[in-house]
Subunit: 199 residues, 2 copies
Protein backbone atom coordinates (compact mmCIF):
# COMPACT_ATOMS: atom_id res chain seq x y z
CA UNK A 1 0.00 0.00 0.00
CA UNK A 2 1.16 3.44 -0.81
CA UNK A 3 -1.31 5.76 0.87
CA UNK A 4 -4.70 4.17 1.17
CA UNK A 5 -6.00 0.70 0.22
CA UNK A 6 -6.63 0.05 -3.47
CA UNK A 7 -10.42 0.37 -3.62
CA UNK A 8 -10.28 3.56 -1.57
CA UNK A 9 -7.39 4.96 -3.62
CA UNK A 10 -9.34 4.17 -6.82
CA UNK A 11 -12.37 6.05 -5.49
CA UNK A 12 -10.20 9.03 -4.52
CA UNK A 13 -8.70 9.10 -8.02
CA UNK A 14 -12.18 9.13 -9.58
CA UNK A 15 -13.50 11.84 -7.28
CA UNK A 16 -10.37 13.94 -7.94
CA UNK A 17 -11.26 14.05 -11.66
CA UNK A 18 -14.67 15.66 -11.01
CA UNK A 19 -15.01 19.40 -11.74
CA UNK A 20 -14.02 21.64 -8.84
CA UNK A 21 -12.16 18.89 -6.96
CA UNK A 22 -8.49 17.93 -6.77
CA UNK A 23 -6.46 15.18 -5.07
CA UNK A 24 -6.49 16.85 -1.66
CA UNK A 25 -10.21 17.73 -1.54
CA UNK A 26 -11.05 14.29 -2.99
CA UNK A 27 -9.17 12.56 -0.15
CA UNK A 28 -10.97 14.69 2.41
CA UNK A 29 -14.35 13.98 0.79
CA UNK A 30 -13.82 10.20 0.57
CA UNK A 31 -12.62 10.03 4.18
CA UNK A 32 -15.70 11.99 5.23
CA UNK A 33 -17.93 9.53 3.35
CA UNK A 34 -16.26 6.43 4.82
CA UNK A 35 -16.39 7.77 8.35
CA UNK A 36 -20.09 8.63 7.97
CA UNK A 37 -21.14 5.54 6.06
CA UNK A 38 -24.76 5.44 7.20
CA UNK A 39 -25.44 9.20 7.38
CA UNK A 40 -23.59 10.20 4.20
CA UNK A 41 -22.21 7.42 1.98
CA UNK A 42 -25.29 5.20 1.72
CA UNK A 43 -27.80 8.05 1.12
CA UNK A 44 -25.45 9.49 -1.52
CA UNK A 45 -25.19 6.09 -3.22
CA UNK A 46 -28.99 5.76 -3.27
CA UNK A 47 -29.49 9.30 -4.64
CA UNK A 48 -26.82 8.80 -7.32
CA UNK A 49 -28.39 5.51 -8.31
CA UNK A 50 -31.88 7.04 -8.62
CA UNK A 51 -30.50 9.80 -10.85
CA UNK A 52 -28.48 7.32 -12.94
CA UNK A 53 -31.68 5.33 -13.50
CA UNK A 54 -34.06 8.19 -14.20
CA UNK A 55 -32.24 11.21 -15.66
CA UNK A 56 -32.92 11.76 -19.34
CA UNK A 57 -32.87 14.55 -21.91
CA UNK A 58 -36.22 16.22 -22.68
CA UNK A 59 -37.10 15.37 -26.28
CA UNK A 60 -38.62 18.84 -26.79
CA UNK A 61 -36.25 21.36 -25.26
CA UNK A 62 -33.09 19.42 -24.32
CA UNK A 63 -33.39 20.05 -20.56
CA UNK A 64 -32.40 17.26 -18.17
CA UNK A 65 -35.37 15.66 -16.47
CA UNK A 66 -36.65 12.42 -15.02
CA UNK A 67 -39.48 12.37 -17.58
CA UNK A 68 -39.33 11.97 -21.40
CA UNK A 69 -40.72 15.53 -21.70
CA UNK A 70 -39.46 17.82 -18.93
CA UNK A 71 -41.47 19.50 -16.16
CA UNK A 72 -41.21 22.89 -17.89
CA UNK A 73 -42.44 21.67 -21.29
CA UNK A 74 -45.45 19.83 -19.82
CA UNK A 75 -46.37 22.70 -17.46
CA UNK A 76 -49.57 24.28 -18.92
CA UNK A 77 -48.82 27.53 -17.04
CA UNK A 78 -45.64 28.17 -19.05
CA UNK A 79 -46.26 30.36 -22.10
CA UNK A 80 -45.72 28.61 -25.44
CA UNK A 81 -45.34 31.91 -27.28
CA UNK A 82 -41.84 32.60 -25.86
CA UNK A 83 -38.83 30.35 -26.35
CA UNK A 84 -35.61 31.21 -24.50
CA UNK A 85 -32.52 29.80 -26.25
CA UNK A 86 -29.67 28.80 -23.90
CA UNK A 87 -26.32 27.17 -24.49
CA UNK A 88 -26.60 24.34 -21.95
CA UNK A 89 -28.65 22.99 -19.05
CA UNK A 90 -26.57 24.92 -16.48
CA UNK A 91 -27.68 28.17 -18.17
CA UNK A 92 -31.31 26.96 -18.17
CA UNK A 93 -31.07 26.32 -14.40
CA UNK A 94 -29.50 29.77 -13.92
CA UNK A 95 -32.42 31.40 -15.80
CA UNK A 96 -34.91 29.41 -13.68
CA UNK A 97 -33.21 30.55 -10.45
CA UNK A 98 -33.97 34.10 -11.54
CA UNK A 99 -37.65 33.11 -11.55
CA UNK A 100 -38.56 35.89 -14.01
CA UNK A 101 -39.05 33.99 -17.26
CA UNK A 102 -42.43 32.30 -17.70
CA UNK A 103 -41.96 30.77 -21.15
CA UNK A 104 -40.18 27.64 -22.35
CA UNK A 105 -36.59 26.86 -23.22
CA UNK A 106 -34.50 25.45 -26.02
CA UNK A 107 -31.08 24.04 -25.09
CA UNK A 108 -28.59 24.27 -27.98
CA UNK A 109 -26.00 21.93 -26.48
CA UNK A 110 -23.13 24.35 -27.12
CA UNK A 111 -22.21 27.34 -29.26
CA UNK A 112 -20.81 27.58 -32.77
CA UNK A 113 -17.03 27.46 -32.53
CA UNK A 114 -14.54 27.47 -35.36
CA UNK A 115 -11.74 26.48 -32.96
CA UNK A 116 -13.59 23.43 -31.60
CA UNK A 117 -15.08 22.62 -35.02
CA UNK A 118 -18.68 22.98 -33.76
CA UNK A 119 -20.94 23.72 -36.75
CA UNK A 120 -24.69 24.43 -36.95
CA UNK A 121 -25.42 20.72 -37.55
CA UNK A 122 -23.85 19.88 -34.13
CA UNK A 123 -26.29 22.14 -32.28
CA UNK A 124 -30.07 21.83 -31.97
CA UNK A 125 -30.72 24.76 -34.33
CA UNK A 126 -32.83 22.86 -36.93
CA UNK A 127 -34.99 21.58 -34.03
CA UNK A 128 -35.42 25.21 -32.88
CA UNK A 129 -36.62 26.34 -36.33
CA UNK A 130 -39.02 23.39 -36.49
CA UNK A 131 -40.34 24.17 -32.98
CA UNK A 132 -40.91 27.85 -33.77
CA UNK A 133 -42.99 26.84 -36.80
CA UNK A 134 -44.87 24.00 -35.08
CA UNK A 135 -45.61 25.80 -31.80
CA UNK A 136 -46.31 29.20 -33.37
CA UNK A 137 -43.88 31.03 -31.06
CA UNK A 138 -44.06 34.83 -31.23
CA UNK A 139 -40.69 35.60 -29.61
CA UNK A 140 -37.33 33.84 -29.43
CA UNK A 141 -35.11 35.25 -26.66
CA UNK A 142 -31.41 34.53 -27.17
CA UNK A 143 -29.84 34.12 -23.70
CA UNK A 144 -26.33 33.35 -24.92
CA UNK A 145 -22.97 34.30 -23.43
CA UNK A 146 -21.51 37.70 -24.34
CA UNK A 147 -18.50 35.97 -25.90
CA UNK A 148 -17.39 35.81 -29.53
CA UNK A 149 -18.78 32.27 -29.92
CA UNK A 150 -22.02 33.16 -28.12
CA UNK A 151 -22.64 36.22 -30.27
CA UNK A 152 -21.72 34.35 -33.49
CA UNK A 153 -24.30 31.72 -32.55
CA UNK A 154 -26.88 34.43 -31.80
CA UNK A 155 -26.38 35.98 -35.24
CA UNK A 156 -26.59 32.58 -36.94
CA UNK A 157 -29.89 31.79 -35.17
CA UNK A 158 -31.32 35.22 -35.99
CA UNK A 159 -30.52 34.55 -39.67
CA UNK A 160 -32.03 31.06 -39.54
CA UNK A 161 -35.28 32.48 -38.12
CA UNK A 162 -35.36 35.53 -40.42
CA UNK A 163 -37.96 34.10 -42.80
CA UNK A 164 -40.41 33.20 -40.03
CA UNK A 165 -43.02 35.40 -38.36
CA UNK A 166 -41.18 35.56 -35.02
CA UNK A 167 -39.45 38.36 -33.12
CA UNK A 168 -35.85 37.57 -32.14
CA UNK A 169 -34.51 39.36 -29.05
CA UNK A 170 -31.39 39.03 -26.87
CA UNK A 171 -30.58 39.66 -23.20
CA UNK A 172 -29.58 43.26 -22.50
CA UNK A 173 -25.90 43.99 -21.97
CA UNK A 174 -24.77 46.49 -19.37
CA UNK A 175 -23.53 47.04 -15.84
CA UNK A 176 -24.32 44.00 -13.62
CA UNK A 177 -26.17 44.48 -10.32
CA UNK A 178 -23.74 45.71 -7.69
CA UNK A 179 -21.10 46.27 -10.37
CA UNK A 180 -18.68 49.12 -9.76
CA UNK A 181 -17.55 50.93 -12.90
CA UNK A 182 -13.94 50.92 -11.76
CA UNK A 183 -13.84 47.11 -11.85
CA UNK A 184 -15.72 46.62 -15.16
CA UNK A 185 -13.97 45.91 -18.43
CA UNK A 186 -14.05 48.51 -21.21
CA UNK A 187 -16.32 46.38 -23.42
CA UNK A 188 -19.07 46.27 -20.78
CA UNK A 189 -18.84 50.01 -20.11
CA UNK A 190 -19.03 50.70 -23.87
CA UNK A 191 -22.06 48.41 -24.30
CA UNK A 192 -23.82 49.99 -21.31
CA UNK A 193 -23.12 53.51 -22.68
CA UNK A 194 -24.44 52.66 -26.16
CA UNK A 195 -27.60 51.14 -24.61
CA UNK A 196 -28.15 54.05 -22.18
CA UNK A 197 -31.74 54.82 -21.16
CA UNK A 198 -33.63 57.93 -20.10
CA UNK A 199 -34.07 57.99 -16.29
Amino acid sequence: MDRAPNEIEALIAQVARLPGLGPRSARRLVLHLIQRRDQSLRPLLAALDRVAQSAQTCTTCGNISTLPVCEICINPKRATAEICVVEDVADLWAMERGGIFGGRYHVLGGTLSALDAVGPEDLRIPELVARVQAEGAREVILALAATVDGQTTAHYIADALAGLDVQVTALAQGVPMGGELDYLDDGTIGAALRARKAV
Copy 2:
Protein backbone atom coordinates in the same frame (compact mmCIF):
# COMPACT_ATOMS: atom_id res chain seq x y z
CA MET B 1 -40.47 22.29 -10.71
CA ASP B 2 -38.36 24.94 -9.14
CA ARG B 3 -34.92 24.50 -10.63
CA ALA B 4 -34.25 20.87 -11.43
CA PRO B 5 -36.42 17.75 -11.10
CA ASN B 6 -36.88 16.32 -7.60
CA GLU B 7 -34.47 13.37 -7.71
CA ILE B 8 -31.79 15.57 -9.25
CA GLU B 9 -32.46 18.41 -6.80
CA ALA B 10 -32.23 15.91 -3.91
CA LEU B 11 -28.87 14.67 -5.18
CA ILE B 12 -27.58 18.25 -5.53
CA ALA B 13 -28.65 19.01 -1.94
CA GLN B 14 -26.77 15.95 -0.68
CA VAL B 15 -23.62 16.71 -2.65
CA ALA B 16 -23.74 20.34 -1.44
CA ARG B 17 -23.42 19.13 2.17
CA LEU B 18 -20.12 17.33 1.50
CA PRO B 19 -16.93 19.03 2.74
CA GLY B 20 -15.45 21.52 0.29
CA LEU B 21 -18.60 21.78 -1.84
CA GLY B 22 -21.45 24.27 -1.87
CA PRO B 23 -24.73 24.66 -3.79
CA ARG B 24 -23.09 26.06 -6.91
CA SER B 25 -20.24 23.54 -7.20
CA ALA B 26 -22.68 20.72 -6.34
CA ARG B 27 -24.94 21.72 -9.24
CA ARG B 28 -21.98 21.80 -11.61
CA LEU B 29 -20.76 18.41 -10.37
CA VAL B 30 -24.17 16.72 -10.67
CA LEU B 31 -24.72 18.13 -14.16
CA HIS B 32 -21.29 16.86 -15.15
CA LEU B 33 -22.17 13.39 -13.82
CA ILE B 34 -25.55 13.25 -15.60
CA GLN B 35 -24.11 14.41 -18.90
CA ARG B 36 -21.32 11.81 -18.69
CA ARG B 37 -23.38 8.95 -17.34
CA ASP B 38 -21.32 6.10 -18.78
CA GLN B 39 -17.85 7.65 -18.44
CA SER B 40 -18.31 9.24 -15.03
CA LEU B 41 -21.54 8.51 -13.13
CA ARG B 42 -21.64 4.71 -13.44
CA PRO B 43 -17.92 4.16 -12.63
CA LEU B 44 -18.27 6.49 -9.62
CA LEU B 45 -21.33 4.56 -8.43
CA ALA B 46 -19.44 1.27 -8.72
CA ALA B 47 -16.37 2.64 -6.89
CA LEU B 48 -18.51 4.13 -4.10
CA ASP B 49 -20.38 0.87 -3.75
CA ARG B 50 -17.15 -1.17 -3.49
CA VAL B 51 -15.87 1.16 -0.76
CA ALA B 52 -19.21 1.11 1.09
CA GLN B 53 -19.05 -2.69 1.08
CA SER B 54 -15.41 -3.15 2.03
CA ALA B 55 -14.10 -0.19 4.06
CA GLN B 56 -13.58 -0.97 7.73
CA THR B 57 -11.55 0.25 10.68
CA CYS B 58 -8.33 -1.67 11.44
CA THR B 59 -8.82 -3.39 14.80
CA THR B 60 -5.17 -2.77 15.72
CA CYS B 61 -4.34 0.81 14.75
CA GLY B 62 -7.66 2.44 13.78
CA ASN B 63 -6.64 3.08 10.13
CA ILE B 64 -9.30 2.69 7.42
CA SER B 65 -8.75 -0.38 5.30
CA THR B 66 -10.54 -3.03 3.28
CA LEU B 67 -9.17 -5.74 5.60
CA PRO B 68 -9.91 -6.41 9.30
CA VAL B 69 -6.24 -5.60 10.05
CA CYS B 70 -4.87 -2.89 7.75
CA GLU B 71 -2.10 -3.18 5.14
CA ILE B 72 0.37 -1.33 7.37
CA CYS B 73 -0.21 -3.50 10.46
CA ILE B 74 0.14 -6.78 8.51
CA ASN B 75 3.20 -5.59 6.56
CA PRO B 76 6.20 -7.52 8.02
CA LYS B 77 8.59 -4.83 6.72
CA ARG B 78 7.11 -2.16 9.02
CA ALA B 79 9.00 -1.88 12.31
CA THR B 80 6.98 -2.89 15.37
CA ALA B 81 9.29 -0.98 17.71
CA GLU B 82 7.98 2.45 16.66
CA ILE B 83 4.38 3.58 17.01
CA CYS B 84 3.38 6.95 15.55
CA VAL B 85 0.31 8.43 17.28
CA VAL B 86 -1.93 10.54 15.01
CA GLU B 87 -5.24 12.29 15.57
CA ASP B 88 -7.16 10.82 12.62
CA VAL B 89 -6.84 8.81 9.41
CA ALA B 90 -6.24 11.95 7.32
CA ASP B 91 -3.10 12.62 9.40
CA LEU B 92 -2.00 9.00 8.95
CA TRP B 93 -2.34 9.35 5.17
CA ALA B 94 -0.40 12.65 5.32
CA MET B 95 2.45 10.89 7.21
CA GLU B 96 2.42 8.06 4.65
CA ARG B 97 2.65 10.52 1.76
CA GLY B 98 5.88 11.75 3.30
CA GLY B 99 7.20 8.20 2.90
CA ILE B 100 9.78 8.66 5.69
CA PHE B 101 8.24 6.74 8.58
CA GLY B 102 8.76 2.96 8.52
CA GLY B 103 6.94 1.99 11.73
CA ARG B 104 3.27 1.53 12.57
CA TYR B 105 0.49 3.90 13.57
CA HIS B 106 -2.08 4.42 16.26
CA VAL B 107 -5.11 6.55 15.37
CA LEU B 108 -6.60 8.31 18.42
CA GLY B 109 -9.86 9.33 16.76
CA GLY B 110 -9.59 12.94 17.97
CA THR B 111 -7.86 15.05 20.59
CA LEU B 112 -8.77 15.85 24.17
CA SER B 113 -11.01 18.90 24.16
CA ALA B 114 -12.67 20.54 27.12
CA LEU B 115 -14.87 22.61 24.79
CA ASP B 116 -16.19 19.60 22.86
CA ALA B 117 -16.29 17.43 26.02
CA VAL B 118 -13.83 14.88 24.60
CA GLY B 119 -12.20 13.03 27.49
CA PRO B 120 -9.48 10.33 27.55
CA GLU B 121 -12.14 7.58 27.54
CA ASP B 122 -13.42 8.85 24.14
CA LEU B 123 -10.01 8.38 22.50
CA ARG B 124 -8.09 5.16 21.86
CA ILE B 125 -5.51 5.93 24.61
CA PRO B 126 -6.08 2.76 26.74
CA GLU B 127 -5.63 0.71 23.54
CA LEU B 128 -2.33 2.55 22.92
CA VAL B 129 -1.03 1.72 26.40
CA ALA B 130 -2.04 -1.92 25.95
CA ARG B 131 -0.37 -2.05 22.50
CA VAL B 132 2.90 -0.58 23.80
CA GLN B 133 3.01 -3.29 26.50
CA ALA B 134 1.90 -6.16 24.23
CA GLU B 135 4.09 -5.28 21.21
CA GLY B 136 7.13 -4.17 23.23
CA ALA B 137 7.42 -0.83 21.39
CA ARG B 138 10.60 1.11 22.12
CA GLU B 139 9.44 4.53 20.89
CA VAL B 140 6.08 6.32 20.68
CA ILE B 141 6.20 9.31 18.32
CA LEU B 142 3.46 11.87 18.99
CA ALA B 143 2.51 13.41 15.61
CA LEU B 144 -0.23 15.67 16.93
CA ALA B 145 -1.25 19.15 15.84
CA ALA B 146 0.61 22.12 17.33
CA THR B 147 -2.65 23.41 18.83
CA VAL B 148 -3.73 23.68 22.46
CA ASP B 149 -5.86 20.51 22.22
CA GLY B 150 -3.13 18.63 20.33
CA GLN B 151 -0.46 19.53 22.89
CA THR B 152 -2.79 18.78 25.83
CA THR B 153 -3.37 15.33 24.34
CA ALA B 154 0.37 14.84 23.82
CA HIS B 155 1.07 15.63 27.50
CA TYR B 156 -1.72 13.31 28.63
CA ILE B 157 -0.34 10.42 26.55
CA ALA B 158 3.22 11.05 27.78
CA ASP B 159 1.91 10.82 31.37
CA ALA B 160 -0.08 7.65 30.59
CA LEU B 161 3.07 6.00 29.18
CA ALA B 162 5.42 7.30 31.91
CA GLY B 163 5.54 4.04 33.87
CA LEU B 164 6.44 1.92 30.83
CA ASP B 165 9.87 1.26 29.34
CA VAL B 166 9.25 3.32 26.20
CA GLN B 167 10.67 6.57 24.86
CA VAL B 168 8.06 9.21 24.03
CA THR B 169 9.01 11.77 21.34
CA ALA B 170 7.14 14.43 19.37
CA LEU B 171 7.50 15.96 15.90
CA ALA B 172 9.92 18.92 15.81
CA GLN B 173 8.44 22.38 15.65
CA GLY B 174 10.05 25.11 13.54
CA VAL B 175 10.08 26.94 10.24
CA PRO B 176 8.26 24.90 7.54
CA MET B 177 9.98 24.13 4.22
CA GLY B 178 9.79 27.20 1.99
CA GLY B 179 8.50 29.27 4.90
CA GLU B 180 9.47 32.94 4.90
CA LEU B 181 10.03 34.44 8.36
CA ASP B 182 8.02 37.52 7.48
CA TYR B 183 4.87 35.43 7.00
CA LEU B 184 5.29 33.17 10.05
CA ASP B 185 3.44 33.71 13.30
CA ASP B 186 5.38 34.71 16.41
CA GLY B 187 4.77 31.34 18.12
CA THR B 188 6.47 29.43 15.31
CA ILE B 189 9.44 31.81 15.22
CA GLY B 190 9.79 31.51 18.99
CA ALA B 191 9.65 27.70 18.89
CA ALA B 192 12.19 27.58 16.05
CA LEU B 193 14.52 29.92 17.95
CA ARG B 194 14.33 27.87 21.17
CA ALA B 195 15.04 24.66 19.20
CA ARG B 196 17.93 26.22 17.21
CA LYS B 197 20.70 23.86 16.06
CA ALA B 198 24.42 24.24 15.35
CA VAL B 199 25.04 24.48 11.58
